[in-house]
Amino acid sequence: MKKSMNKSRKKWNVSLAIGTVLILAVVIVCIVSFIYMPHDPIEMNTTLNFLRPGANESYILGTDNFGRDILSRIMMGSRTVLLVGVVSTAFGAVIGIILGGFAAMSKNIVSSIIMRFVDGMMAFPGILLAMMLVLVVGRGEKGSIVAIAMFIVPTFARLVYSMVLDTESMLFVKAAKSYGITKRRLFKKHYIPLMATRLITQFSSSIAHAIMVETSLSFLGLGIQAPNASWGLMLNESRKYFLTYPYLAVAPGIAIVFTVLGFNLFGDGLNELLENGKGGKR
């Protein structure tokens, strides 16, 4: 493992490069969508529905069942993907870091209750927990963000918990403790910087996860609601028609794959770079 990693690093960190390009592309599309979109993504125009890509020059990717421009809806969907993906991951990460950190630093009954709770949250397979939470919070952007944040929490809580326990025996921690440092300060000033690389890498992969959950929820009709646009919702809307008009199912899917791939590769590449920079794993 080490041999191959060093070799590839000297050459060129392909994952990081491709990941950065893909993420930048989505971010640029998102920014552009606020300035310019070829058509109104919400306005319906049933006389122009089911235009195949290229059938009309002003509708590059064609139109959907309501005659809405697919390209414009993809552009609008990039906002949803980034908003829900980043915000829910950030929420989940903060809660997870606090829970995991608290549990690891204060070893008492509370901390073991927290960790058992986290285990329980993690035991729900796939999007089951998110589906239940959507029922409570309601469908739409807010519901998705809350549901996905709770999906992200256990990952970070466990990661921080185990990392804090790993570092506890390190000399500088003992030194800091011998100076009578408060637990909160120890966590903020010493543990967080130490864990930063792993947390950043995990953050990137978690965004990819969050986007997967968002699109799945939207695809099942439990996430973003029309007329708002989400790539998963676009695929859901195309389900009735895609056997006759297969092109409807192509563009949103490609957009999802590129975005998820981008965050995954970015996370992997970053991991490779940072871990190597520190000289080997851990």
Partner: protein, 318 residues
Amino acid sequence: MQNYIIKRIWSALVVIFVVSFITYFVLMLIPGDAAQLILGTDASPDKLAELRNAMGLDRPWIVQYLEWLGGLLRLDFGKSYLYSTSVLGLIIDRLPVTASVAVLSILIAMVVSILLGTVSAIKRNTAIDYFSRSVMQIGSAIPTFWIGMLFIIFFGLKLKWFPISDYSPLSDGLFVHLRSLAMPCTVLAIGETGMMLRSIRTSMIDTLDQDYMDMARVKGLKNKTIYFKYAIRSAMIAPINVIGMQFAKLMGGTVVVESVFSLPGLGRLLLIAVEQRDVVLLQGIVMFITAVVVFTSLVVDLIVMLLNPKIRIRTRGE
């Protein structure tokens, strides 16, 4: 070793308990209760109170929770409002579909990832390795529902190899059954392959880098013997854990796949329960699926322990 087994079983039971707690309380937060659901939003407050009393919904939540939990232990999952039959019966009706899908797709994913993972570990940094690593990256980035739709368009509509959303149970014959499940299972397997392949590749590489592998080479053993007699055997231990984890992901993933391919399985039932806000049904399915997943990972852990001489010896020494 006995201590370890007891500890592991205990922690699985604790997780199940926590899951039941979370499930019950999350779903209790849903606006509008069962009585409201049955009578509709414009029911009079008197009637609502009466029904609540009859259903026992006006008692403290802790009593209701304990009663529900006690029911679960007696395998009484309650009654669905939507179907007005027992939840367990509904689950058992739909279980075979989901079980078939889960088992078949994990088999497909295992075969593919063991083959590709081993080859790409042996031929590190060659075209084959890069190919299988790309497969693994892209495989874990493709949403199952999208690849499902593409499969329906391509293999169902264009090539007409497989039926589009037409499920045939095992009683129709094995071949027809497998044919109707081929697309959904392959689709699910694609999502699973990524993680499994990664772990098999990593663990194989770790094994190949061990000193005893060099030793075997120095002794003049043939590559084939080294790979198949020594490397695969010890490299398979770590991925078994991942396969257990993937099984969990897969049980969650069936919701989406069953929806795309209109399979009458547990995932579909779950989606119906969510859409119709049938809380009792939803609680029952979530508890059932999660319990299956937790016990699977328990069994996997115990198998790994039995397979791995390191853990066995270490725990014996304690």
